[in-house]
């Protein structure tokens, strides 16, 4: 029942919002992963980011797609929590780690099962249409599951359509730029550097020349 609701939401509501109300211009769609395990990395400006990234993937993959979302924001708020878990299908992540608990356990076991994770390494939506510093959790995850390739996706325009703190959706076209998939060979530093470089290249392709702020590097 809930699986059918989820399918219906993404087949009808999400596609109506993303493709008709907003409208996408996708460059390099062929670079998207066609099967799991995989990590899709996005810049985060709006709640719409997740809807757009999930609409980019074919509906057959829907049962495999899990957006990683902040447990403190999405869990425990009644209806929002039910919607986030059952319809969007989030994988909750503790943003403030508890001593002795592995915060990435759920993510890495999902990857082992062959799921496709959607991750926002900026950690939060931040200022509209600005790329924040990347957190290094993604590198730990990628190092643990070397068979999962990371595909960076740069989205532009959604911070105008529905920025943080606004409830009114205003239609704007959204430009989506898909980057080449990255591998993690175990070295988290080079992985973060190449992810950062991929984003700079995509932002430049999108006409946003402002370089992103410095990265928080993982300890060597």
């Amino acid at each position: 029942m809930i699986r059918a609701l989820r399918w219906l939401f993404f087949a009808v509501v999400a596609r109506l919002i993303v493709l008709v109300v907003l409208g996408l211009n996708v460059r390099h769609r062929e670079r998207l992963p066609t099967s799991g395990p995989a990590i899709i990395v996005g810049n985060h400006n709006s709640h719409l980011d997740t809807l757009v990234l999930m609409t980019l993937l074919p509906l057959e993959l829907l049962p495999r797609v899990r957006p990683v979302a902040a447990a403190d924001y999405f869990l425990g708020k009644g209806l929002l929590s039910w919607f986030a878990i059952n319809i969007i299908g989030i994988l909750p992540l503790e943003r403030r780690p508890v001593r002795g608990v592995d915060p990435l356990a759920a993510c890495s076991s999902a990857l082992t099962q062959g799921d496709i994770l959607i991750l926002y390494p900026e950690g939060t939506r931040g200022e509209p249409e600005e790329l924040g510093a990347f957190k290094s959790g993604i590198a730990h995850l990628a190092a643990r599951c070397p068979e999962a390739r990371t595909t960076p996706v740069y989205m532009k325009g959604l911070g105008k359509a529905l920025p943080k703190g606004e409830a009114l959706l205003v239609p704007f076209f959204c430009d989506v730029f898909v980057g080449e998939a990255l591998h993690c060979d175990g070295n988290r530093r080079t992985y973060m550097a190449s992810l950062q470089a991929a984003y700079e290249a995509l932002a430049e392709e999108a006409g946003d020349r402002r370089p992103p702020r410095a990265t928080a590097m993982p300890p060597p």
Partner: protein, 313 residues
């Protein structure tokens, strides 16, 4: 023909358009064969998109009157969205832009009600007065004039002008017994697009002297004049099947569309040059965005509408 809401003449003209497109497809296949598999890729893409656009337009125009109105309202929505996505907008104006979108259903409801008085003053008067008021209530004064000016220009271009195509549809059927409102819509759209293609072909084959090098370096005098002559001949040929115009009046209509179409094209080119983009979007493969396709129509629609209305309605 009972299932269709339009006269047989409209169907015949659509058949002629399909025949012309078949010729274009055949030529592009022959060209591709002589130039190798990758030759003229852009042209083939363009023609394929033309087929799709003609199919959608034919369905929207012939099935039901209200479907035609919804179709043009959707074209306005896509064009306004493309325009607002291109221009710089202030974050504080989000609510103003939302109101701007709401003018689209309102404007096409006036068309559906055949309420000419409201249709013709709603955007130039009421919306023109209301949106700056809404901006003032929000209170952001930095770049106020630019924001108010750009939003209103966009609405006049993408909503007011394009809704004139839709109003042709609801003009009294009795004054155009040969093809009704749908015939007038088809006459306008066909002439406008034929003008675009003719200007391009004349310019490519004969064009030498540039007409507006600063705005649109590919436009030439030969293209412009060739387009005007071609579309005038076409306007006179088609008029007896689709309009109440006699040959003299039809030739003036052709000149209006030829000049108006050229101006609409270069005005949108100037806007794109100002913003710094080549195409307004990527919605239609081989053509660019929706604004790239309807740029000429933003001028020809109000010009031909008021010309026809003055003469016959």
């Amino acid at each position: 023909m009972d299932a269709l809401a339009v006269s047989p003449n409209v169907v015949w003209v659509f058949a002629a358009i399909c025949a012309a497109l078949l010729c274009a497809s055949a030529i592009s296949v022959l060209l591709a064969r002589s130039a190798g598999p990758d030759g003229h890729r852009e042209l083939r893409l363009r023609i394929r998109s033309w087929w799709l656009m003609v199919a959608v337009f034919a369905a929207a125009l012939t099935l039901h009157r209200n479907l035609t109105l919804i179709f043009f309202a959707f074209v306005s929505f896509l064009a306004l969205k493309e325009y607002l996505s291109l221009i710089p907008t202030r974050r504080s104006d989000r609510r103003v832009l939302f109101w701007a979108y709401l003018t689209i259903p309102a404007q096409y409801v006036w068309v559906g009600m055949e309420w000419y008085g409201m249709f013709i003053i709603f955007l130039p008067v009421y919306v023109f007065l209301f949106l700056p008021l809404r901006m003032v209530l929000i209170g952001e004064t930095t770049e106020f004039l630019r924001a108010a000016g750009t939003v209103h220009w966009g609405l006049m271009t993408t909503v007011f002008s394009i809704s004139h195509v839709a109003f042709l549809l609801v003009l009294p059927e009795s004054r155009n017994p040969v093809a009704g409102g749908a015939g007038l819509v088809l006459y306008l759209v066909l002439l406008t697009e034929a003008n675009d293609i003719a200007q391009y072909l004349w310019g490519k084959s004969l064009g030498r002297r540039k007409i507006l090098p600063k705005v649109s370096p590919n436009k030439t005098w030969a293209g412009f004049l060739g387009g005007v002559v071609t579309v005038t001949v076409l306007a006179v040929m088609l008029a007896p099947y689709l309009t109440p115009l006699d040959p003299l009046h039809a030739s003036v209509a052709g000149v209006l569309v030829g000049i108006g179409g050229f101006v609409g094209d270069v005005v949108i080119s100037a806007v794109k040059r100002d913003i710094g983009v080549k195409d307004s979007g990527a919605l239609i493969p081989g053509h660019g965005g929706i604004l790239d396709r309807i740029d000429s129509l933003t001028y020809t629609a109000p010009l031909l509408f008021h010309y026809l209305r003055y003469l016959s309605f």
